[in-house]
Assembly symmetry: C2
């Protein structure tokens, strides 16, 4: 009987490295990061028997050069789960791998400590330690630690001292530090290399401000009862106010010509009245389609001027992409095959039976996928060429995912700085897969997470492994969503949700009018009355200062700008509190990963109860905060500018009449 | 500016199919199944918009031919998670894939039901239904359902009837059944094909009986105070008794020559007394090593005779593989490089500092991995050639995993019927990875899971996705483990744990003496006093009948043999009970997957409290039991042979003085 020898290169390797994260379906979809992000890499690394094991994460740049590495540490004792963080420094497709290795110094240090103490094999253990350190000193690249090692070897071999002293020479902090920095790595076993797509920082962290340009500067003539639309020129006049609040992105709802057939009236009325401007999401008229500008808003020159003004104020422009057509869209005539023709020869309206939306023809991507792809790609290029650097994609989950994957890959290849935000409020699988196939950011369920239990669970979810693919964007409201909490809590509630959005996720967004606490719903729905989609809504900003939400938004953006920890995602940590309306979370960025070169630690404590003062204890997880145990800390509230000395647990009292939250910078004195 | 067109073949596909299970690290390790196992395959399948989606799991045999498929059903509404079960019919490396598809009939049925009722597009919807069914009838392979479809089309087009009746023709149970069997599948999108290694049924389901052959038939001479060892011949005399209890496998502790240097005495004493036989795990003497038989046990002829006797009784023989050596092992002289030589020139003993095991030299696999691999492979072949078909591997987690992966692949290639059981009682990552790299079965934490909370969690864990790689073997005790629960509960506790082991996992094992309720621990440890490793332990079986555990073991094995549902793993379902000592779980195998062609459903209810009668309600999950709602069921207790009519919730009372458990066969009358 002959026997086969089995595979020559077993897949498991000498030191097993399994379940590496972030890896989606073994690299079918790349993980995401941005320049400057401290990316947590995890793996399960273990070995046979009792000997010590170590692991290193190695980060490789797009040209294949190893750029960074980090020793991984145990984050789940007993489960062999290790983590290390590495920071990519440029955009492009990086890779990472995990190396598991045998740690002979760790093994010797463990065994020798026990055996010398117990008087077992004493001389032998000291000799073996000396031999090991001599071998370590002979390695390439060990010159810098050769002195430390030689001193240790001399100590181990010094028969004039007692065994305890000799052992101590081999276990000294200096030796440990030298071998932490240059570990003796035997039997190094590498995982596969996994992809990590690195985008510019705005893909992860930014503050967005949404508005309808036609509302900004729209005027009503009480004598004639007619409206005059705001224009891109009048909208541009609002930019300094928005920039003054510290926003990074101005997001414009669609600016294209609006259809007239079955145009919707105010409050989604089936028939528009004379003068109703129609929904900018019913795109297309005789004046053009997705590549054109609604004439009442102005021209491409006006658009270019708007972009230039925004840029001069330090802001970029995001445009809405709503891939649907009014019956008047030019494509209906030129490309009827891009729609669904029914058995009676008519074009299918958008429907959600029994509802029918006669102002909208949805695209049918299956009859001519190539043609539609090329046209949409062309349309996007029009706007990219006019300075748009971000797209907010309306309802991407009603279009095929293979279409988006192709569009996103193409734009990413040609314009790596262009960022797409997915507006999919739908089931988890769809939202997460849209993120995996290439959307840079995603709207989230944050808008409906109100209680302490809901918020803590959700903050952990979006900041955990899911954050390797789906970058969350937190919006307290949108033009279509006024959640129940904000219908009932007034200014105080708007303050609470602003703090949670601005500090709970690195990207957040505000829909215009939030400063004015516009909180009146259309009866029975989670939407504002007089939805701005169907009418002009110029606002009187003069009263905003008296309300103060605008000041809060500005302060939050300023704090975000000053604290790099708040512009990271996967560094969030939740801290227990004794009160069920007090939520406490922190973001910590260690000095080695911070652009400032210093630890940056912010602790946020929010009172969700807008009616009652709440007080209680916050149990600070000092390790997660990067603070030493047993030492007091200085807590500086960067919202109120108060400062006090603290220890854990910390007592807090938040009265909603005074403030919604503490935003505390923690430092060891 | 030119724009790139993006990838021509997007990875996501037209109908997204993601997170397919069972897939370990994208197929780095294959999933496992056995011939006749109903393998659950899961995937997240969804699509854009509101149209209906379907999915099929397809099972492909080792030659590449699609052999089975199943329509997948939603198992987590709102999460797009689907499951289908398929049954491989031969050994070898099969593959499976999931196909997602657009379901135009499902879309039409949903929309038409609503719209015809609401009077919207009535004629158009009926026409579109007729066109769709006409198209369905024109497909290849649709001859069998052409009549049903033609009738439906005629009904849809029949203007003499009202729209409701016409619609009903298109939605009739006959049409639905025809299209369930032959669905209209558009835009079929296949996942990758993933590997599924299929073993023979004994790899999943079997009952094992462990014994020390030297104990069976050992005799003590009271006059001389000396022992005479049992032999393979005397051990064979015990086989009819074991077979009589219905066991499938007899597992022998090591049969090799035992070292004399530092031989351990009774109860692990450092020094053996005259006549102590030594531990069979201290392998190797002047009489040979792992390829030899301890002379006092007999010869290879005796071994062959033992195997032949077992086979004649319907049992297979498992042998212990303990890869460690006594200092007297032949390898120590012939291959000193297979051990660790210390700085003083001595060979390293096994150690767990400060403990030192001077009767054992551990192998060092790193100096000559190729040489050790070839030798161990040769040794295994010796025993395979002598009829051993199963190996119980002692402490595999103290040897390198790449060694095991290679050994297991080689034996699997040459002898696909040979089964390896991993005896790794250690941390989860190691245990699960040993299973993933090829061990057929694994010892588990079952031995220490005693409470209702522990047991329900653990039963769910081993029967869930983990079961795709790690096949659990449940052992109430082993020769090294007497858990605290069994030190304190006597016969009643031994009955409880036997029922849980036999019915909680498809493979279970009993260590000899369980029939005699050997429950006295060595003080302070979870081990029997007078551990059989260090002494002869002949047993007086005559008293076993009076205790009755042997009868219970036999009855459990008989029930397992009659009920294929009990020989499956991933069909376990837990049912809530109102009492915290009552655990209820079921195993259901539907007629389509059962070798009997009939539904097979067993419900087990165990009282964990061995002191008090417990009573309460069991909430039966009728769907999981394959039973219809609203109909009574007949409950037949196959342990006690009682029968009664039942409905959910069902009342149960279990008095440990009377019985440990109900084992109930459920049938709809």
């Amino acid at each position: 009987m002959t026997t086969s020898l089995g595979p020559v290169s077993p897949t498991i390797g000498r030191i097993p490295v399994v379940d590496v994260s972030p890896v989606a379906e073994a690299g079918r979809f790349p993980a995401k990061a941005v320049v400057g992000e401290a990316v947590p890499v995890r793996a399960t690394v273990f070995r046979e028997g009792h000997d010590a094991v170590g692991a290193t994460v190695v980060l490789t740049d797009p040209s294949g050069v190893d750029r960074a590495s980090a020793r991984m540490v145990d984050i789940a004792p007993g489960l062999d789960r290790l983590e290390g963080r590495v920071v990519p420094t440029s955009t492009g497709t990086w890779t990472f791998r995990v190396e598991g290795w045998s740690d002979p110094y760790g093994t010797w240090a463990h065994d020798a400590s026990i055996k010398v103490e117990a008087g077992i094999d004493v001389e032998l253990m000291l000799t073996e330690g000396a031999l090991l350190l001599e071998k370590a000193a002979r390695r390439k690249g060990s010159k810098g630690i050769a002195g430390v090692l030689a001193e240790a070897v001399a100590g181990l071999r010094d028969h004039e001292h007692n065994p305890g002293s000799r052992l101590a020479a081999g276990l000294s902090p200096a030796v440990r530090a030298a071998l932490d920095a240059h570990p003796i790595r035997d039997a190094v076993t590498a995982s596969p290399s996994y992809p990590l797509v690195v985008d510019r920082p705005l893909a992860l962290a930014g503050s967005w401000y949404e508005f309808f340009p036609r509302s900004a500067g729209a005027t009503y003539d009480y004598e004639t009862g007619t409206w005059t639309s705001g224009t891109l020129r009048t909208a541009a006049l609002d930019l300094p106010r928005i920039a003054g609040m510290g926003f990074d992105v101005v997001y414009l709802t669609p600016v294209h010509p609006i259809g007239t057939t079955y145009r919707k009236g105010r409050n989604n009325a089936l028939n528009a009245e004379q003068g109703d401007p129609g929904s900018p999401y019913a795109i297309g008229s005789k004046d053009g389609g997705h590549d054109a500008i609604e004439p009442s808003l102005g021209t491409f020159d006006d658009f270019d001027a708007f972009v230039a003004d925004a840029r001069a104020l330090g802001m970029e422009v995001a445009l809405d992409v709503a891939l649907q057509c009014s019956p008047d869209h030019p494509w209906v005539a030129t490309h009827p095959e891009w729609f669904t023709t029914r058995a009676d020869g008519t074009i299918a309206y958008a429907e959600n039976p029994p509802k029918k939306y006669q102002d909208i023809y949805p695209l049918n991507f299956d009859n001519d996928p190539e043609g539609i792809y090329r046209e949409i790609r062309r349309v996007l290029q029009v706007w990219i060429d006019h300075g748009v650097t971000l797209f907010r994609v309306d309802n991407p989950h009603t279009k095929p995912l293979d279409f988006w994957e192709r569009i996103l890959a193409s734009v990413r290849a040609d314009h790596p700085d262009v960022i797409f935000l997915s507006e999919a409020f739908t089931r988890p699988a769809m939202m997460q897969t849209l993120a995996k196939i290439g959307f840079h950011q995603s709207y989230t369920y944050f808008t409906w997470r109100n209680t302490k239990a809901e918020l803590t669970e959700y903050l952990a979810e979006v900041s955990g492994e899911q954050g390797s693919w789906m970058r969350p964007s937190f919006w307290p409201t949108t033009h279509d969503i006024l959640p129940p909490y904000l219908q009932a809590t007034g200014v105080r509630g708007f303050a609470v949700r602003a703090v949670l959005a601005a500090l709970g996720a690195p990207t957040w967004g505000i829909y215009s009018g939030y400063e004015l606490v516009e909180d009146v719903p259309r009866p029975g729905v989670e939407e504002q009355i007089d939805n701005e989609k169907y009418e002009f809504k110029p606002r009187v900003w003069g009263i905003a200062d008296g309300i103060g939400i605008n000041v809060l938004l500005g302060r939050l953006n300023e704090i975000r700008r000053h604290h790099p920890a708040l512009r990271q995602l996967r560094n969030l940590h939740l801290h227990p509190t004794s009160d069920d309306a007090l939520v406490a979370f922190s973001r910590h960025l260690s000095a080695e990963h911070s652009p400032t070169g210093r630890d940056d630690t912010i602790l946020v404590i929010v009172n969700l109860d807008t009616y009652n003062a709440r007080e209680g204890w916050v149990e600070l997880d000092l390790d997660a905060l990067g603070l030493e145990h047993g030492r007091p800390v200085v807590a500086h509230d960067v919202l109120s500018d108060d400062a006090y000395e603290w220890s854990s647990p910390a007592f807090v009292r938040l009265d909603p009449a005074v403030r919604a939250a503490h935003v505390i910078r923690l430092v060891s004195p």
